[in-house]
């Protein structure tokens, strides 16, 4: 029974990773950049929800919406101010370093505004826990909501990309930016939209993450951010189903590794598995193999 409960915990954590990984993977697929500040947007989302619930006293649902709105605006502002001017820079590393700068900026702003002490986050989930198998197996409300949210987001996003014009424009830009521009697609607008969606997802992930692990500091986003990035690479960066599979597998590996091998070595196990996967299949589980032309 304990194995099944570990597995469920893993899926729950993995669903959060998957939602964050979506943000990474979409931005990478379309803007071809690693957004190192993504983890810190999660942290901002966490604080936004925390402040609006505890200081402003709004109800949890409204707090989540507020957090999503704040993160979306933040994502758009960062994209406009810091990333767009560097889009055609001669080295792709320039925008990567700028993203690192943005990450430091957000962390230190949060440190100044909210202090370094850990805030304890009250769960936004009111769904009761489900008890199965005569009390041997308990599935918490947070787990149910997280997994459901992940599924809804996945289905919604897939429909959005395949059925709407804006979604098709995203696909076109990710395929060939120059050709998309010639077809009359607003490339800058499409990239901004991608950042907006990624940041909104980060806010949702923040609320879910903080509900399950209720401690909030200015560095909360950093490790889940890196893990989600690993998940995105694991599943094949640029692929949306890849982010889901990568995220959930990573969550399961992490929780099972903690439970059965060694709790201190969980991170080493996660990263070790990543290396092995990439060596066997260098473009990730569902990544596209791109042929190099001479």
């Amino acid at each position: 029974m304990s194995f099944i409960s570990y597995l469920i915990n893993g899926i729950s954590l993995g669903s959060v990773y998957a939602i964050i990984a979506l943000g990474y993977t979409m931005v990478y697929g379309i803007a071809k950049m690693l957004n190192f500040a993504h983890g810190d947007i999660i942290m901002v989302g966490g604080y936004a929800a925390f402040i609006s619930m505890n200081s402003l006293g709004v109800n949890p649902i409204l707090a989540v919406i507020l957090s999503v709105v704040i993160c979306t605006i933040l994502g758009l502002v960062i994209e406009r101010v810091a990333y767009r001017p560097l889009r055609n820079a001669s080295s792709p590393l320039a925008v990567l370093i700028t993203a690192i700068g943005v990450s430091y900026l957000l962390q230190n702003l949060a440190l100044l505004m909210f202090g370094a002490d850990t805030k304890s986050f009250t769960s936004v989930v009111t769904v009761p826990a489900v008890v199965l198998a005569g009390g041997k197996l308990t599935i918490s409300g947070e787990t149910i909501v997280t997994v459901l949210a992940c599924m809804i987001i996945m289905i919604g996003l897939t429909l959005f990309i395949n059925k709407t014009k804006a979604g098709q424009a995203m696909l076109a830009v990710s395929e060939d930016r120059g050709a998309a521009q010639l077809m009359g697609i607003n490339v800058n607008g499409t990239i901004a939209l991608t950042f907006a969606i990624g940041s909104a997802l980060a806010a949702i992930a923040a609320v879910l993450l903080c509900s399950a692990y209720p401690s909030l500091t200015p560095y909360t986003g950093a490790m889940p951010g890196i893990k989600a990035f690993v998940a995105a690479v694991f599943g094949g960066i640029g692929s949306i189903p890849g982010a889901l599979i990568g995220g959930i597998l990573l969550g399961i590996i992490e929780i099972l590794g903690k439970a059965y091998i060694s709790s201190q070595m969980a991170d080493a196990i996660v990263f070790g598995v990543l290396i092995v996967v990439l060596l066997v299949k260098p473009s990730g589980l569902l990544g596209k193999q791109i042929q190099e032309k001479v």
């Binding site: 001017p85 990567l96 700068g101 890196i226 690479v233 070595m265 990439l278 260098p282």
Partner: protein, 356 residues
Amino acid sequence: MKKLKLNKTTKNNLITYGIVILAYIIVEAMLAGGQISSLMKGLLVPLCVYVILAVSLNLVVGILGELSLGHAGFMCVGAFSSAFFSKCTAGMMPDGLRFFLALLIGAAIAALFGLIIGIPVLRLKGDYLAIVTLAFGEIIKNLINVFFIGKDANGFHFSMKDAMSLNMDGGDVIINGPQGITGTPNDSTFTIGVILVLITLVIVLHLINSRDGRAIMSIRDNRIAAESVGINITKYKLMAFIISAALAGVAGVLYAHNLATLTALPKNFGYNQSIMILVFVVLGGIGSTRGSMIAAVVLTLLPELLRGLNDYRMLIYAIVLIVMMLLNWSPKALEMRERYSPKRLLAKRKEAKEAK
């Protein structure tokens, strides 16, 4: 008297060495005059460490053209292996000899790790290489934290659980998991640091200007073309990677012998540190050895110089970083700089005068 004729690269290299030696003389003079605060004195050896790290990472990022985010991992390997050696042999040989051997061991073991990681990893390209090197750095940091090695009359004991399970018979614990290594002999000095910086520069600059260096740069510029003229891609990639790892190991040795307690924290050996080194390289100008060196010094001093601003210093640091990147790399900003550069304005004025 025949005038000594130097070609451009030799001249450039001599300027780079000159800067280091001049900086050393100035700092020593200021130290003798007592004009350097104790805080700054504590920064002298770390400055050398960061310069070595930046110059060696530049070899991979700038010259080989591959993004590595695990440089702190090699530094960590060098630091722990050499500290382990120094602690085991403390008192068995003269300090100078021991430190020299520690340097060789740190460099050799870091190079070995560079080889082990490099062979599989260099098959990957671009961002995938970046993420695997990042993962490697995190694994090293994580493993060091669960390592326990003790030494007693029966020899060495090893465990990956805790200090109790070493089953020690007296003796002492050398590597104590998260508590790391305590009591490493304090061998690093500013002078040794500067000598190591110079050796690093000689190795790197010599490599860049050699036949091998040009082969490495040709891989960066066009891998397929390089391969088609018969350059052994794997060999040269590995060469750059291993030399870079060994030099990072040297930086680690210098770092370890400057501290009383060596622990593997996210702060000193985590991915943040690797990224910090990458920031030095990129801000200094990718591919420019002298630039990496200067950026490492400026960016290490900057947070300390801003110390008066207390809480705001890291915030200002972040803003400076973003603004510098935007000004140096954005095509629009470059165009503006070109248009309003003093040189051009002067030329314009001259032109106007001549037209009259």
